[in-house]
Symmetry: D2
Subunit: 440 residues, 4 copies
């Protein structure tokens, strides 16, 4: 069947990650015919998006690609008629992130961009905006696919899929990164590796890993037992920690990097506090990195993605996103790990919950592969986190302080009402006007 060339809108187009997306599009020119790429941003990001626009044009020119690339502040015009909308915006920017990281820490609670109270505040800022975007998509591009990167990706996708009619998939670079790390640790080609994820975004357990279809998870787990250099770095990259063997043997699975916050909370808290004292928040470090990056981006001689971008922390984002678009457009039937509605995939999670799982991707979208019942040893934690996530969405959708408080108390990082309420109130205050809807 003949297919039309594509229009892609990138919301948050001024992000420092965008050159990766551009690269991802350009290397697929032969079979993924993008005719128009619109970079949308808000006035606060006008300068950045303009820098990106110029860089993107240079990259396209160098690659000989005939793509109409332009930046705009006019979101509806960008969305109108789009085939794919990619959302990677950050409400409040890195300054807001700095607050998400530092406020909880004042009360001896992990301050983290996507989990705990920090991630919660980010969700509360993001959901109203994403729902606005979805209303526009429903009206102006009802057949478009929304590919969401914006963190906390699982919660944001939960809001989209349970409160709008938009076709959407949530995306994260963790699963693709884990597969890359597995391949490297086992020293086999990436194409021979498959891994199965069970759970939620930033809470995905790897319950199977295969090379050419043969199960290798037990070997992978045993590799954590005093790994040699050349292997250690890849294991560490996968889980951000070399787990002790009794832990892994008891769990029988591998973790995401974010599981450290749940299974080594006390240690991570000490680490975070030390870091904060020493170097300030991660947001501020990223801000410095970004500043440098954009200086580079400005150079009229740069016409490809600079190497430094990889240090930024978002490796494989582009690969995940553009290969997903490619799989939909090309009806590839590939397996990708995405955020979508449960619908029985994991039988002991709510039917409508958004989960992160392997799915077959084709022109019709994503169909998850059945996982069955989660083992009891993780079912409690995953259900708790999902309950928190569903309450977070409900609080934002119903703009209700009582629900917002119950979401905070449902978060596993918070085990004390007084602490939870204090942090919530301080975040609401600090994030004015974004969270004014929770004031009363």
């Amino acid at each position: 069947m003949k297919k039309n060339p594509l229009k892609i809108a990138v919301i948050g187009g001024g992000s420092s990650y965008t050159p990766e997306l551009i690269e991802g599009i350009l290397v697929r020119q032969d079979h993924l015919p993008v005719r128009e790429l619109v970079l949308v941003d808000v006035p606060m990001g006008a300068e950045k998006v303009s820098i990106i626009e110029s860089l993107a044009r240079r990259m396209a020119a160098k690659a000989g690609a005939d793509i109409h690339i332009h930046a705009t502040m006019d979101r509806p015009s960008a969305i109108r008629g789009a085939d794919f909308v990619i959302t990677q915006f950050r409400v409040g920017g890195l300054d807001a992130r700095a607050k998400d990281e530092s406020i909880p820490l004042k009360y001896d609670i992990i301050g983290q961009e996507t989990t705990g109270p920090g991630g919660y505040a980010k969700a509360l800022r993001t959901i109203p905006v994403i729902l606005d975007i979805c209303r526009e998509i429903e009206e102006l591009a009802p057949d478009a696919w929304l590919i969401n990167f914006t963190n906390p990706s699982g919660i944001v996708t939960e809001a989209i899929l349970n409160h709008t009619r938009v076709k959407a998939l949530g995306l994260c670079n963790v699963p693709i990164g884990a597969k890359k790390d597995i391949a490297k640790a086992l020293k086999v080609d990436f194409s021979r590796v498959q891994a199965s994820f069970m759970g939620l975004n930033h809470m995905g357990y790897i319950y199977s890993a295969t090379v050419d279809g043969v199960e290798v998870l037990p070997q992978l787990i045993e590799m954590f037992d005093d790994p040699p250099a050349g292997v250690r770095e890849h294991l560490e990259s996968m889980t951000d920690i070399i787990w002790p063997m009794p832990f892994l043997r008891s769990l029988g699975m591998l973790t995401s990097p974010y599981h450290r916050y749940y299974y080594r909370n006390r240690m991570m808290l000490e680490e975070e506090k030390a870091h904060m004292a020493e170097k300030g928040s991660r947001a501020m470090q990223v801000k410095a990195i970004e500043k440098e990056l954009f200086e580079k981006y400005k150079s009229p001689h740069l016409c490809e993605k600079p190497k430094e971008l990889e240090q930024r922390g978002g490796a494989y984002y582009s690969e995940a996103a553009i290969s997903l678009i490619d799989a939909i457009y090309g009806d590839k039937g590939e397996i990708h790990t995405v955020n979508l509605q449960n619908r029985g995939t994991i039988s002991n999670l709510p039917y409508n919950a958004v989960i992160e799982a392997n799915a077959i991707i084709g022109a019709g979208g994503a169909t998850p592969l059945v996982i069955g019942e989660m083992p009891t040893r993780v079912a409690g934690l995953v259900n708790e986190v999902k309950a928190y996530e569903q309450l977070a969405v409900k609080a934002a959708v119903e703009q209700d302080y009582d629900i917002a408080l119950s979401a905070m108390l449902a978060n596993p990082f918070i085990n004390d009402y007084e602490v939870g309420k204090t942090i919530l109130d301080e975040l609401v205050e600090a994030h004015s006007p974004y969270l004014d809807y929770l004031k009363r």
Copy 2:
């Protein structure tokens, strides 16, 4: 990874279908290295299996294949060390089938090989045998995959998967046949067609059909509205009936050929009665066809599958089975429609129920693609049939007449206790000694 060449055991190797299997193996010689093929049968089938053995050897010789092919009555020796065990036997042979077809009909109830009381009697004869086979596999070839064709395939697979530790997949030629028919009706290449099945064996609803990933089910449904020749025959082949449009619009899906027995029961009963009066049972017709086939098979000049086999009614069995083995052996990641445990695939069927659904096939076996909740308009019937099937298995496993009676009464064809009990008792008597375990 290097893989060893394969040993395949075919139980019921004297079946007239076996040449299709041989053909399927021979055309895949380059990538599916079969080194040994054992055709197992019972003394009653000694002559037939010997004919098949000779034919198979001639076929292999012609194809230049180095496969050790031999027939045996010694099932354990055939199973020992097998990589795949294919079961396609028929307990009691076609004479038993004739009883399954004729006894219910005496009481104005559909007499059919795989559904209703006839299929039930076949299940009751088959389950004890398949469980014996599975005990042997557990002991002698614990890593083997069992590919079951033996009808009623869904019930037999339910018995295997819920009562043994054998890795098994149930198979049927209906789904692959439907996809072939869809391709022909739409005049597109088979490779571009995908179809999604929901339900049970011989009760699979087609709820999605795509060409290159684009949904075409609504068009397919509308084609039933007075289809022209050249299309009509393919639609008819798919569902064995040209459904009236109000039916299909209300259903919103396509059916299997066996749905006629549920949705046009009265008509089918009249048809069957007329057929029986005119030509005797289908079993007796098949017996005649088989006689002729085996005459052909005997010919020392025949060294390929004869064309006449296709008329026999089992088109694509070989393709379904051998391509499934191929997908497992080659870790293909292809989608096949198989019988396996539900585990949440269809959320409104029991977790452990065996269903027929699309699944990704790889070296680790089959992982079903999530279907979600069946629509209410089919959930009642499918649940009723599944309840009957689970009771049928339970009756055979526990060898309990009361349960056997409740299974009969749970079958949708039976709506009268007196009729159900009469037929059950007559079948038990007629199928002595196979069903003696239900006498009391």
Copy 3:
């Protein structure tokens, strides 16, 4: 706590059953203080309701009760401020029932007032009216309890509870009748007997029966084995049939009278056809009985419920209804068998399905007692009937012919599309204007 005296509105107040209700109220005068009783009917029933009004007043006078009793055609005024609304109306009257009984029979399908196509047509006529009534209750008496008798009581209650905010309980005289029959068969006092029902209205299986808390179901079942006179009649009254022992031993439970239509469908069909040929429809017989009854009711000397009413077939309706009202008003904590939302009571039925089950009744309404998983031997049939019921409600609520057809095909009495569609179309035509909403 002091409670106000009650206003009760009876919709369908001109029913021949109403004197039973009056009696039920009058015998509870001391603790159930009814101050106002409004009998609502439609113009077609004006004469009847006026006769009932006079009789009711005479009954109240004789009992020395100070109740304001009046008839009206003005439904909203009757509902306004009511504490209880009792619905016992019949859309289309007995003439419509006659069609429900005779039309299916023309096609060799059971013609029955509450089950099969006949009950379905009644549901389709009733649901639009009950939803109108509920809108009025929501507005004019939002705290009122609706006690629904109108058949098919389970389907009508399903419509109310899933499509309105009215507090409602569905009621049937079968469960109370069964308990009476059990007490009589065992020759113990009714007060010592408890019975547990599992399933749906007119499809309730008795899975436990106790005397003073001691299980007696096995004895009760064995009593069906050639029961002596003095017992036989009570067993027969309970199930409307003396079930053969193999049936009951296989089922392990007792049935309602309506199970005959499912488990002895062929026999019942023959019976019905013979009856119809001999005496015409049951509706016409009831019409004659009613005529006589109303002649009696007219007599100014009659000031109590006449004995003949019991023959009418609705024994214990009044007892069921008024004792239920009494249990709510008096916060009694008694167990009644009612129709209400499942909410997990039976784990293998949909969460929102209306079921018939034992429940604790108090001022807050009804809380069902957990039943758990239905046994497989009944789960299929009950799920099938519930699917039909949910489709029937959906067809009426969405006024959609396609859904109406799928409901008809989902009914276990119908196993042939042609038959089902023919009957549906004929019923829609015959019941004009009530079912005009399904014409297209």
Copy 4:
């Protein structure tokens, strides 16, 4: 029906609580005819049980009750033929409890007898013993009811109901105490109050409270807003804390006393540490109280329950237990709050999970009242705690260290692997020989 007089065996008969049980039996003499009461204990408790035996005999004599009361170390003889077995033993005694309370606290984790790592260690010590007892009941008193008090009551009952065939109910004094407190706070008679509990033992949320059937929960919640003396003490007794209003408004329910450990964990930890520093463990305080109590019990002049027992902390245990026995024996149909299998009572907890819920009690045992779906705001925590409990049972039943570790990590008090493993290992060591089965 005539019933036989009862034999009751009390395992842990030397408990200081036993006089309450005796009293409970004696005040029900007229309708609960106990003929034999056997007090079972282990050699370590020989002196205590002998003191209790004498006191119990004096109490019975004073009450004019003809009960054969005797103490024994021979458990099987006590169980043989018992109608009720009450378990209230403490494996390892108060010295073990002192370790449960102090070891976690060393690592800044709540040390508590029934929740957290302390309760977990108690469960691990108790489960092997209770399963031994159940094997004896299965053999020697298969019709007996086991009434379990032994803490953690929910976990112990989970072990019994999922791993033995014993008929058992778990009991706790929290629900009855809460109802008493509600009555006092509202200044109404206890008999007019009903309360509905949702969740688990020591994790029961009060989601409804009624006086004469009228809902009063909202008023109760508002009473926490600066309650006057005379009310305050009863609210405090109910929840062990005066919850701030924003917490209660967000929760919309009332808590058990143990919820403080989950919702005010940090505060409770500080409190516990201060207490421990000041007064030593609660176990040691109880030990002192018990010493005094037993001194009192020894007095030959004491022939009733001494007032001081109430201070001990187990108020209403006797009332809960003996009134439950009374309700079973007398087929009362009363509502009690007990620990039993979920079976769908709470739809978002596992089917076989033991929960604490309201149930109708009669001769046949307990039937829970349907609760439906827990609200999201508590579903996460309750599922997490239940997962921990199920893992705890599994660890004890399978005697598997890996599972024991995963149970510890699943407990909400533990959010750091290192801390969890350290505490587990130290508990296993400290509780030798009871937990030697987890050594490796």
